[in-house]
């Protein structure tokens, strides 16, 4: 028979081990969920139909431009697959993905799409879960720029404000319909942000004059 102090120590040790296993399991589960959600957040294949149909015509006008577009499209799809599988990536990779994505959308929308970047160099190495900005940019194009006969402008920016890192996508074009139910892209993003409680992550969407602004606020570790 085990003596009591020893049993307590063993019990405490086993409980601790269980706790560690449980939290590891929980962590793995969270990672799995984040990965699954990120995969679901990938660009909807529907967005590609129009682009590919447009390329079927571009080839008659400009073979070099078509070649560049196809290469860009393949690279974008490869990046999306990579981002969908990763749990975290440097923001530089999200920026590269967005540039590819916007080049493809420009092909579709022509002069109607204008893009401005406010992306400081210090933001590139910051490691975050992937595909945080892509759904916001996709949304800005779908509901703002493409929905307006005259198109619109998209501004993508990153800034620090106190202890927070703020990722921002603002757009003109069709106005935000605040009564319309949120699409799957945004609700998926909110779910993924909810998996980052240590970052106190939140998504705010609001109207500012002609601009619809979406901001992700993330608490930066080590910042007070």
């Amino acid at each position: 028979m085990l003596n009591l102090p020893f049993a307590l120590v063993v019990g405490w040790f086993l409980a601790g081990k269980e706790r560690a296993e449980a939290s590891e399991e929980e962590l793995m589960e969270k990672e799995h969920k984040a990965r699954t959600l990120a995969l679901q957040a990938q660009l909807h294949p529907h967005a590609l139909y129009n682009v590919l149909s447009g390329l079927a015509e571009l080839v008659h006008e400009d073979a070099d431009a078509t070649e560049n577009a196809i290469v860009g499209l393949v690279e974008m799809l490869r990046m999306l697959t990579h981002h969908g599988r990763a749990t975290s990536l440097p923001l530089a990779q999200e920026r590269a993905l967005l540039k590819r994505y916007l080049a493809i959308e420009s092909l579709r929308l022509g002069d109607r799409l204008k893009v401005q970047w406010d992306w400081p160099d210090w933001a590139d190495p910051i490691v975050l879960p992937p595909l945080l900005l892509q759904p916001l940019v996709e949304n800005a194009i779908k509901h703002g720029v493409a929905a307006n006969p005259d198109g619109g402008e998209i501004r993508i920016g990153i800034r620090r404000q106190g202890p927070e890192l703020i990722l921002r996508v603002a757009n003109t074009g069709a106005r935000l319909d605040s009564k319309a139910p949120e699409g799957t892209g945004l609700s998926n993003l909110r779910e993924r942000l909810a998996l980052l409680p240590q970052r106190r992550a939140r998504l705010n969407i609001r109207l500012e004059g002609d601009w619809t602004t979406a901001e992700i606020h993330l608490h930066e570790p080590g910042m007070s």
Binding site: Y49, A56, E57, L58, G110
Partner: protein, 239 residues
């Protein structure tokens, strides 16, 4: 054969260029192209000489299905979309055809054959063939055959068509209905009632012989005004 005069509305530049080029390749005269539905809607109000429309379904401002519903006159419409699931909505508003992007020459040629099959010959405007008219159905329109219509009724500047069910038309007066079907023999039996005499199943007297009740297909009974009764009797061969 005269070239078919067509107009195209499509918001995506390359897809607009493709459809326009293929239409020209197929022998069509592309009389106008538009980057969105709103501009085509405005152009249509000017009464252009056009035989058929090719409309993208998803366009900013005014989508293809809504544009179809707002057309001031009946025209064959072919819808174009990158999304197969849009086909249901297209055929609900009586599209001649539905093309998936990227449009191909072979498929476009079939759509053009369908349009030519529907296009009335120039000398058939007053014939006795099928006459159809649009009624509002949800966010779209349905086309009803005049021969299935029992009567039209006006209420607060809205003309309703009774054809099994009650449908709201786009006419405001019964005069407009008469003008739309000048040779159909439609007959006013009351200030607010316009019937198709072929839909009359029988008539009976009421109110001591002063009034006439008309029974129409579907079992509907309407009262004719005193002034209209002699004409009605004459039209039905009862005098």
């Amino acid at each position: 054969m005269n070239a078919l005069k067509v107009a195209v509305a499509e918001d995506e530049v390359m897809n607009l260029k493709r459809l326009t080029r293929l239409l020209v390749d197929c022998g069509c005269d592309v009389v106008a192209t538009f980057p969105n539905g709103l501009e085509m809607e405005e152009w249509m109000r000017s009464g252009p000489d056009v035989d058929a429309l090719f409309l993208d379904i998803q366009m900013p401002g005014l989508d293809g299905l809504s544009l179809r519903s707002s057309l001031p006159r009946e025209l064959p419409v072919v819808f174009v979309s990158a999304f197969a699931e849009m086909a249901v909505g297209a055929f609900e508003v009586e599209a001649v055809d539905f093309l998936l992007k990227p449009v191909t020459t072979e498929r476009l040629a079939k759509a053009l054959d369908r349009i030519r099959g529907r296009k009335p010959a120039p000398d058939r405007t007053h014939g006795t063939g099928t006459k159809r008219y649009p009624v509002i159905a949800g966010s779209g329109v349905l086309f009803l055959d005049l021969v299935r219509t029992a009567y039209f009724e006006v209420e607060d500047q809205i003309v309703w068509a009774i054809a099994g069910e009650r449908f709201r038309t786009r006419w405001k007066t019964l005069g407009e209905v008469e003008a739309a079907f000048p040779n159909a023999g439609l007959m006013r039996i009351h200030r607010h009632l316009l019937i198709r005499p072929e839909a009359v199943l029988g008539i009976r007297s009421a109110g001591g012989g002063n009034r006439v009740i008309v029974r129409l297909t579907g079992g509907i009974e309407l009262e004719a005004s005193r002034g209209a009764t002699p004409d009605l009797r004459a039209r039905l061969g009862l005098l």
